[in-house]
């Protein structure tokens, strides 16, 4: 009687484990079918998630914390055309007025054209949004910059793309903003 009970327990346990393993394998296969996976990049207290069609880039700006580029937008010289760059700079005044003043100054340069500005929220923090175009460098680019203040620093998350590709890749920037973690 006791032996039968032990045998039954062992068989039941083995079946249960086999079922769990089988379900796990099926689940893993489903995930493998997806071409797009999400990668994570963490630097300087900021963690972002981005699709695997983008890669980590080296920013030329001294203020940059991290940057990513859309892989198929990289030109022959290795310069990314569709980029997201996160920068920070020490505030030398009140946050809102400093940022506003930057764009006021920018408007005096004909190579920059401010399209819109407004207030948004990023990671539960109030932020400022500026959309503008620039014609510096090779072609004309559109930029969407989200500014927020943290610890006496002005942070800016900026999405840049050639004008004709700006809208097509904007969803990635929205995804990055929705998943960003600032510590």
């Amino acid at each position: 009687m006791k032996d039968n009970f032990i045998k039954g327990s062992i068989i039941t346990l083995m079946l249960l484990l086999f079922l769990i393993s089988a379900v796990s394998v099926v689940s893993a296969d489903d995930n493998a079918d997806e071409d797009l996976s999400v990668l994570t990049l963490s630097k300087g207290g900021i963690t972002i998630q981005y699709p695997s069609t983008w890669g980590v880039a080296e920013p030329t700006s001294n203020y940059s914390i991290m940057a990513i580029s859309k892989i198929d937008s990289i030109d022959a010289l290795g310069v990314g055309q569709v980029n997201i760059n996160i920068e920070k700079k020490e505030l030398d005044g009140e946050f809102y007025s400093s940022v506003n003043q930057s764009y006021k100054s920018m408007q005096k340069d004909p190579s920059f054209q401010l399209i819109s500005s407004g207030s948004v929220s990023v990671g539960g923090m109030d932020a400022l949004e500026y959309i503008y175009t620039s014609s510096q460098g090779a072609g004309e680019k559109e930029h969407k910059a989200i500014w927020f203040e943290k610890g006496g620093q002005a942070y800016v998350i900026m999405y840049s793309a050639p004008i004709d590709q700006f809208e097509d890749n904007l969803y990635v920037f929205d995804f990055v903003l929705s998943e960003i973690q600032i510590t």
């Binding site: 796990s24 760059n85 920068e87």
Partner: protein, 240 residues
Amino acid sequence: MSDEREKLLRVMKNLEADYNSGKISAEKYSYFRSKYEDKLNSIDAKAATKRIRSMQGKPSTDNRRKQRRRPTKNKRKEEQDLVQKYIINPKKSDAKYNKSKKSSMDSGTFKLFLLLILVIGFTAGTAYGIFNLDFGSVSNSETVAIVDDTAFPEIKEVVTVTNNTSKYDNYSSTNDDYKNVETTTDNSNSYQPSDSSSSNSNNQGGSGQQSQSSSSQSGSQQGSGSGGSGSNGANGGSNG
């Protein structure tokens, strides 16, 4: 029991000595030797039985002998069984001696059961980890491109006011971001920044002091009467 054994061993030793010295014949020697060996085996078997009984927690045969002077047939049989089971090592197929082993779950079976659970659990856990954990989600930091976009670009600011123009190329500012400022001013000091820290949008004219400072830096603008390029908004550049 131990004394008996010692005695027997001593007798056997003497027998061997006698045989070696030629006091007894080979036949006698082999006869007595086999006899003493049987006795010795019997003593050893009794001692083993006693030890087994004590390990099983049963009263020793000596105590029982005290109670019942004569051992029963069953007891003898039991002793024989014990000797057969633990000393002579019965065959596995011998159902008579393996009966009790099969009926209960001893520690060996339990260990095997535990080992089986551990192995299955380890295998299942490893498989679950391999197939479910997203090892590739952490990005490698290998750079794939260069990004030259920045939210702090260099700005070429052009301010047109009136008439005479003066050009400040590579104007030296404390802020590295905003260089190459071009300004257009007139001689009537109509464009004078109020102070060095204020923004351009607020500045409608420059002070004479700034004008001098700017001129001295550019080295060619003395008497232009303006310092209109003094600052650049958020960068707060000073002319010093």
